[in-house]
């Protein structure tokens, strides 16, 4: 049966329409992913940015002898519930450090209670109507303001949202990552050097290679089980410490560093090796003096990316107990500590609305550091990348 040209061109039109549709649909899929990213970051910014501001109120602080015994007495009764209890508790200590304060009384900006903070930010609070009117009064006199919260960056965890900060978690992250780097970097680079430069191509080498690829795909929580059973229960490494967390993360980061280092070593042209062998270098001398220096930028880039990945990891650290409540900043690797993502996890579990804000604030800090790390890796690669 013959088709007329009209039929065929109509059919063709339909086919082309379908073709265009696929193009738009696939473009839409990519756009959807992009749109999600925008939505996600906006949402985090909206939720997290207020966390960097904290309400302070100006009140008369009375450094009397009575306040030394009973800190609550330092401020007048009508503003008493509005001042952070954590702040009041510090007053006797300050009077001991500075005896001149005794008997004086002055107007001071003091940290307000978390509820006042939430009220000023326009969220739901538990303040009763009388307290709310006092805050309104203070605000209209310019005596209640949201100020930049340095406390958030300098103090540790607290049960009072207005006092809680990320400093102890940040220090824990630093200590944990130091352990991770100290273990994973040398072992990872050595493994990669062995596999690329020394190992004969035999069964054993293949098993190691398959094994490394499998390790990279094992769910991170299983590394936590390993850390719990082997490091804590068998070797007796202290629970919750950056040492055990760092070791666990090191085993997780190892495949990333190995794979990145191997790629970097492979991109070094053989002519360099041949030249070095030609002047009488031994294999180790070739690697140490020629191959490694040339591939260092690639290795560094891979390690930074691996480290960034380890920094955001939470699940294995929860299993080895790094979700402890750590109010003090301490820089040891054997004491209990927590890390930024674990702190975020703990805060996310607090029912108080003020903690939700702190959580988002912590997330912003974490994301900023991660973006900075990854950007460093990209810059490093761009700057030192050599095409042979």
């Amino acid at each position: 049966m013959r088709q007329s040209f009209d039929d065929i061109s109509a059919q063709l039109k339909g086919r082309h329409r379908k073709s265009a549709r696929l193009k738009w649909m696939s473009m839409g899929a990519l756009g959807l992913a992009g749109l999600f990213l925008v939505f996600f970051f906006t949402d985090m910014l909206i939720k997290g940015l207020p966390a960097f501001q904290q309400a302070q109120i100006q009140v008369q602080v009375d450094y009397s002898e009575r306040a030394q015994q009973l800190p609550l007495a330092a401020v007048e009764e009508d503003v008493r519930p509005l001042v952070s209890r954590g702040y009041l508790r510090l007053i006797p200590g300050r009077m001991e450090d500075n005896p001149d304060l005794l008997g004086t009384s002055r107007m001071e900006w003091v940290l307000a209670d978390g509820q006042v903070d939430q009220y000023l930010k326009g969220h739901h609070t538990n303040l009763n109507s009388k307290e709310q009117s006092v805050v309104d009064q203070l605000a209209s006199e310019g005596r209640a303001e949201l100020k930049f919260d340095t406390n958030f960056f300098t103090s540790g965890d607290s049960k009072m949202p207005e006092l809680a900060g990320i400093a102890s978690a940040a220090m824990g992250t630093v200590m944990t990552l130091l352990v991770t780097l100290a273990v994973a970097f040398p072992i990872g680079v050595m493994t990669a050097v062995y596999l690329e430069e020394f190992a004969p191509d035999n069964r054993f080498t293949q098993i190691i290679e398959i094994n490394i690829n499998n390790l990279a795909a094992i769910p991170s929580i299983l590394f936590g089980l390993l850390g719990l059973a082997i490091f804590i229960n068998f070797f007796g490494v202290p629970r919750s410490s950056p040492l055990v967390g760092g070791l666990t993360l090191a085993l997780m980061t190892l495949p990333v560093i190995i794979i990145a280092t191997r790629t970097a070593l492979r991109s070094v042209p053989d002519t360099i090796r041949h030249a070095a062998f030609g002047v009488g270098c031994s294999r180790w001398q070739v690697v140490r003096d020629h191959v490694l220096p040339v591939s260092m930028p690639g290795i560094m880039t891979g390690s930074i990316i691996g480290l960034a990945q380890a920094m955001g990891e939470t699940a294995p650290l929860i299993i080895v107990g790094m979700v402890a409540f750590i109010p003090d900043v301490s820089a040891t690797i054997t004491d209990a500590a927590t890390v930024l993502p674990a702190q975020i996890f703990t805060w996310a579990g607090e029912p108080d609305r003020a903690f939700t804000e702190k959580t988002a604030g912590g997330i912003l800090v974490l994301l900023t550091i991660l973006i900075a790390l990854n950007a460093t890796a990209v810059v490093l690669r761009k700057k030192f990348e050599r095409r042979w």
């Binding site: 992913a33 190691i208 795909a217 929580i221 929860i318």
Partner: protein, 418 residues
Amino acid sequence: MQTNQLILLFSGALLVLGLIAFFMGRAKAAKVRASGASMYAQPDQYAWYAALATAGPAVAVGAIGAFALLLMGAEIPTPYLLAASLVVAAGGLMVAMTQVRPDFHARKAIERTIRFVLAGAAMISIFTTFGILISIISEAIRFFQMQSFWDFITGTTWNPGASFLAAAGRAEEGASAAEFGSVPLFAGTFMITLIAMLVAIPIGLMSAIYMSEYAPTKVRTIAKPVLEVLAGIPTVVYGFFAAITVAPLVVSLAGMVGLEASFSNALAPGIVMGIMIIPFISSLSDDVINAVPDSMRQGSLALGMTRAETIKDVVVPAALPGIISASLLAMSRAMGETMIVVMAAGMRPNLTANPLEDMTTVTVRIVAALTGDQEFASAETLSAFALGLVLFVVTLTLNMVSVIMIRRFREKYRSNNL
């Protein structure tokens, strides 16, 4: 603290011995050389050899001794162990000194040592796998000694209840007997993984098609890293996002169409997890679609097929093994994902097909079992390892299948890639 000081002292002594070895070796080699003998290696190499021969065996003795101490509970006090290894170090120093002679190949000896050390480093990844296997299996066996394996696999009630009381020897006080039927947990894991894949596969695959078939180079160079950002966001952040933003959104949307949704519904973590694994699918699919030889596209276009028909009927079927392999890999990633479900999914084991209800997953129960204040030997704590074992086996199988499929795909197209 005493042990710490002891170890510090030991390290200091070892360092001093090593330095002595280095300088004595070099001095002796230089002297031999100055006397006119032609040597196999440079004085520095003899020096390094001497240092290695001093420190290496000592450290090995110390490490093996410490390990044996832990493993067998042998009663060798630490000071004796460290003293023994210092003696070994001194012995090594003496041996190394006699080796400094013209016909000894110091460079080759160093080379051998280094190769040995590097191979040892490579073994660590194997040890890690064994470590995971041993730790999971040994605890899982202890669990299956308490609970029947069959009940664990087929039971539909997960109720650890008062199992910690049994471990403390107070079983009678517990109200109900503990039950460890893992079916609801696996059903929950499966449901959330399914939702994630329903989100990730269409978006990931379509993005890959756009990037490899349509997008100009400029868009590609920007879009690829932007998609990778999705994989770089920490999972705890996704978990918070799912619990605080997406879950209420799902609840209100469900409310609009007259459905009742729980605030810890399975849909929110599923969707967010799906978004997280988009880049896994898109970047792998992108690679395989690019690997499909252009001659196939040209042949199809030459027959008068449109671009979409070429993609749909030629390119995608050719790349299918790779795409499936990418999806399997993403699936294993979704099953092992922990933080999103811990924060956004429920805690209650619930055997249901309704994604708007709360349900729990394997990883949630692992975390729940190991973060409580229970006796380590209780059945609930050990159940975490049994669940971990199943998780390990499932993800490993998925990975293996995925790797084999992608290797077959690569081999198929290597020969006719003209």
